[in-house]
């Protein structure tokens, strides 16, 4: 079975990449193929990366409060490209009130500060494998 392919992306203008880098390394150590896009990616660039890399998962790291703009745009573009079966998860600072809206538009996992890496790894393994099996 092929390895899970994960695109880790930092959208927006924020440069605080500690979380993105730590999770990228943890997923890699857990046996996944990780592509880290680097900083300041537009939703368009992230979708292109997912398409090009044949990603099973997109992990977004957002701490700046821009998620309400960036994530809906990203989900829209994924749908347009027929990538709406890619598992989208977010890590970062997301106020509670925004969580239902993000889930409604298709974000499957939202991981707030303090989430153990193991919990994220298991979540991805559980939810992304279904797609691989179906696909």
């Amino acid at each position: 079975m092929r390895k899970l392919r994960v695109v880790i992306a930092k959208p927006g203008l924020d440069g605080h990449d500690r979380g993105a880098k730590v999770i990228a390394r943890a997923l890699r150590d857990a046996g996944m193929e990780v592509i880290y896009t680097g900083l300041r990616q537009t939703p368009q660039q992230i979708v292109s990366a997912a398409l090009q890399e044949d990603a099973d998962v997109i992990g977004l790291s957002i701490l700046s409060g821009a998620h309400n703009h960036i994530v809906p745009r990203l989900m829209e573009l994924l749908k347009e490209k027929g990538l709406d079966d890619v598992l989208v998860v977010i890590g970062g600072i997301i106020p509670d009130v925004d969580v239902p809206k993000l889930k409604e538009i298709g974000v499957k996992g939202i991981f707030l500060p303090g989430t153990p890496m193991q919990a994220i790894i298991e979540f991805i393994q559980t939810h992304a494998r279904a797609r691989t099996a179906l696909g």
Binding site: H16, R18, K21, G38, S64, A66, I70, I93
Partner: protein, 554 residues
């Protein structure tokens, strides 16, 4: 019985410790600081081997200032309680500043939003959703006029956390002072202006390292003549630590950055004593109490010796390391957020015992959002309780002479000097950064720490132990999109009403200056006076220098 070769400590280990261990073993096989530094169970006079009190410590107010730069410690003047604030539009933040000043504050500390920090106007694609979120949006001189409306710049000190576009934001501040009739030589405050730590840690860079360094030396030269009381740079370890560095790496990389700036200033033809006294520092106050105290003490000593011996500074103001500190944002937990008050208080105490000159204490809700006014007030009260109730301000360097603290101070100093050697061999900090050296060191440390938490080798209360289910949510500050809409409308109005021909000429002048070697500040001031936007000025420089793109290290 004591044998000839046995030291007191060895005798104690044999006679007292061994039976005690046999009866009840210790909680862990080894103990380390939060940075992974091994700690022995006991420090005695023997651990002061190699430490010479007169040379390494001396007295407070005397070279190398290990025990502090002031002979009277905090008995004369307390540290400055400087709380960082900014959000939404300039009007909203102006109201918050006026309230702070009315409550007795004498200094302001401006937090800018991400588009401002990155030199992008609010209508740029990447500014989507970011305007006014993490700080205040300042697009042009018009916004700076509003930000300080009704606040006399001659009567306060302002600290501005701005790096890549520091020259433009500073120029806006200077023009507002001019409009108020305040002479530049009467202004005092700080611009962060530390681009090296952006490449290393926080990643808010625009231009490549070398032209970025040139902007900074231009600011040094300009201020030494025109704005002599201004702190031209705040060399920052804070962000390096937040990115995952150990205490030693924070110390070493920050001071190495400082040395690099001094070297570039000297290479640009400046006299050391003309600009080094205006260099200040900014450190993190993290959770490992004694290691932090030792870090600040070592920093003062290393800087004093480097300025005197390596750069031949003669003015003692060049030797004295002055620093601001901020409690560790990264240590705050979203879980059981009230615990953060306790963490912050302990961290602040370490900064005070380490002799900080200025301090920001974080608010309990900052793992979740920007602070509410109530949380920000509690954070300030924490400092006031330390200053007025704890008693620690009555004595200078209370921990001086502690076997443990002096050993730790010396070990950190030696560790930093080893890092300096490695960096010098690479040709300096700019080269080290271009090779990804500090970035790689920090990424290693942050991953190691995360794994220690996962394995519960390090405990974080409420996160990996003492967890509480079903916590009630706390009230947080929610910033909506209205600031963005107002700033976009204002940007459009500005471009309609200003003299666009003058703006065009000023931007051409800036491009010409950037291609040559003249000091950029007069050209930037002209563009600011013409109401060129921050995005336009940064774009003019992007045209000449290009943008920096890092190769990410994971």
């Amino acid at each position: 019985m004591k044998t000839a070769a046995e030291t007191d400590k060895q005798r104690w280990a044999r006679e007292t410790l061994a039976p005690a261990l046999e009866q009840s073993p210790e909680r862990a096989a080894s103990f380390t600081t939060i940075s992974g530094r091994p700690i022995e169970r006991l420090y005695t006079a023997e651990d002061r081997a190699g430490i010479d009190d007169a040379r390494d410590l001396n007295d407070p107010g005397n070279f190398p200032y290990t025990r502090g730069i002031h002979a009277t410690g905090y008995r004369g003047k307390l540290w400055t309680m400087r709380q960082f604030a900014g959000f939404g539009t300039p009007e909203e933040t102006n109201r918050r500043y006026r309230a702070l000043l009315k409550a007795g504050g004498t200094g302001l500390s401006v937090a800018f939003d991400l588009p401002t920090l990155m030199g992008r106007d609010p209508d740029h694609e990447l500014s989507l959703g970011e305007v006014g979120k993490c700080g205040v949006s300042v697009m042009s001189l018009a916004d700076m006029e509003m930000l300080f409306d009704g606040i006399a710049l001659g009567g306060i000190t302002s600290s501005m956390t701005i790096n890549s576009p520091a020259a433009m934001i500073f120029a806006m501040y200077l023009v507002v002072a001019e409009q108020q009739g305040v002479a530049w030589d009467a202004l005092s405050g700080t611009i962060q202006n530390d681009i090296l730590k952006e490449f290393i840690a926080q990643k808010e860079y625009i231009f490549p390292p070398r032209p970025s360094m040139r902007i900074i030396t231009d600011i040094f030269a300009f201020c030494s003549k025109e704005v002599p009381r201004w702190n031209t740079i705040s060399v920052s370890g804070y962000h390096i630590r937040e990115a995952g560095a150990t205490a030693l790496q924070e110390l070493a990389f920050t001071l190495a950055d400082g040395l690099e700036y001094v070297q570039w200033g000297v290479d640009a033809g400046l006299d050391v004593d003309d600009f080094v006294p205006r260099i200040s520092f900014f450190f993190n106050a993290h959770s490992d109490f004694f290691e932090e105290i030792a870090k600040y003490r070592a920093a003062r000593k290393i800087w004093a010796e480097a300025m005197r011996n390596r750069f031949g500074a003669r003015d003692e103001r060049s030797w004295k390391l002055r620093f601001h500190s901020q409690t560790a944002g990264v240590s705050l937990t979203a879980q059981q957020p009230h615990n953060n008050v306790v963490r912050t208080a302990l961290q602040a105490l370490s900064a005070v015992l380490g002799g900080t000159n200025s301090l920001h204490t974080n608010s309990l809700d900052e793992a979740l959002a920007l602070p509410t006014e109530e949380a920000a007030t509690l954070a300030l009260r924490t400092q006031q309780i330390l200053a007025y109730e704890s008693g620690v301000t009555a004595v200078v360097d209370a921990l001086g002479g502690s076997f443990f603290v002096e050993r730790l101070t010396k070990d950190l100093e030696e560790g930093a000097l080893e890092y300096f050697n490695q960096i010098d061999k690479m040709g300096g900090m700019v080269e080290a950064i271009e090779r990804g050296f500090p970035q790689k060191e920090i990424a290693e440390s942050s991953y190691r720490f995360q794994r220690e938490i996962e394995r519960k080798e390090k405990t974080i209360v409420g996160v990996n132990d003492f967890v509480q289910e079903g916590e009630p949510p706390i009230e947080i500050l929610y910033i909506d999109e209205s600031a963005s809409e107002r700033q976009l409308a204002r940007l459009e109005a500005l471009k309609r009403t200003r003299d666009n021909a003058r703006v065009g000429r000023a931007l051409d002048g800036l491009r010409t200056a950037a291609s040559g070697t003249e000091n950029l500040m007069p050209r930037i001031l002209e563009a600011v006076r013409a109401y060129a936007t921050l995005g336009e000025m940064c774009d003019a420089l992007r045209d000449v220098w290009g943008e920096y793109e890092e190769v990410p290290v994971i």
